[in-house]
Amino acid sequence: MNSSATNRVSYTLDSTLESVNRAEKKALEMAVKSGFGDDCQHNIAMAVREAAVNAVLHGNAYDPLKKFIVAYEITPQALVITITDQGRGLDPEDIPDPLSPENLMKNSGRGIFLIRAFMDEVKIRNLNPGTEITLIKNVGRKAVNAEEEVQ
């Protein structure tokens, strides 16, 4: 564990499902610490789980030599969680809409959609290689439509 500031903590994790569970559990802990209500806590933890699954499964492809980093930061305005993997990189433009009729009955492809639904702001950055996804939940306001910023 690395800690660069009082309200910021980051973890470098192996590409395993155990790490996904750990990232989710810590997200729940940070959401509680930030003062979010039960539903928000659940949604934040789930968004982090989905992002961590993407990092482990689609990004690092369970490669034992690759790690992913989860950083949690509590600011007066928001809980900010950044997840970075060492995979080949994700182009947000290539993510299919899971609500479209041709995708509705697919077995996968809903992770990013759920992250966007549960967080106030989502930023996806292709690091070439690697992907960085930043999840922001604002304090003191209900979820609004997620925005996406491609950098």
């Binding site: 996904v20 699954v53 899971p98 509705l104 077995n107 809903r110």
Partner: protein, 116 residues
């Protein structure tokens, strides 16, 4: 909490009582294996009781869709029973609420299956 699936037979309907988390990994595998087993036995009327399911992630949702498709492809029906609010909300925002036949009363759900 470890995912569990216990199947019981009521008339021509197989009710699967699920409990725990349906997530990537063990939970999804338990559900997948249960459905494959039932499909292999030729069971066509499946009612998944989600009343004790505490959590479903996107992989779990995908597994529910897969279960639905598997049973439908062999001429059967798969319905959902006793959704928690969180699971209900998830199916709403993923637009799957209209795909699945969702029930909140077991006896009525059992009676709703077509006789095969």
């Amino acid at each position: 909490m470890t995912m569990k699936a216990i199947a019981r037979q009521l008339d021509a309907v197989t009710i699967v009582d699920l409990s725990g988390r349906i997530t990537l990994g063990e939970g999804s595998v338990v559900l997948r294996d249960t459905i494959r087993d039932l499909a292999g036995k030729g069971r066509k009327n499946i009612l998944l009781n989600l009343g004790e399911v505490t959590y479903i992630d996107s992989s779990g949702i995908g597994e529910l869709v897969s279960a639905f498709t598997t049973i439908r492809n062999q001429g059967g029906e798969l319905k959902l029973l006793n959704l928690t609010k969180k699971v209900h909300d998830l199916l709403q925002i993923t637009k799957l609420y209209t795909v699945f036949d969702i029930k909140d009363d077991e006896a009525a759900a059992v009676g709703s299956f077509a006789k095969k």
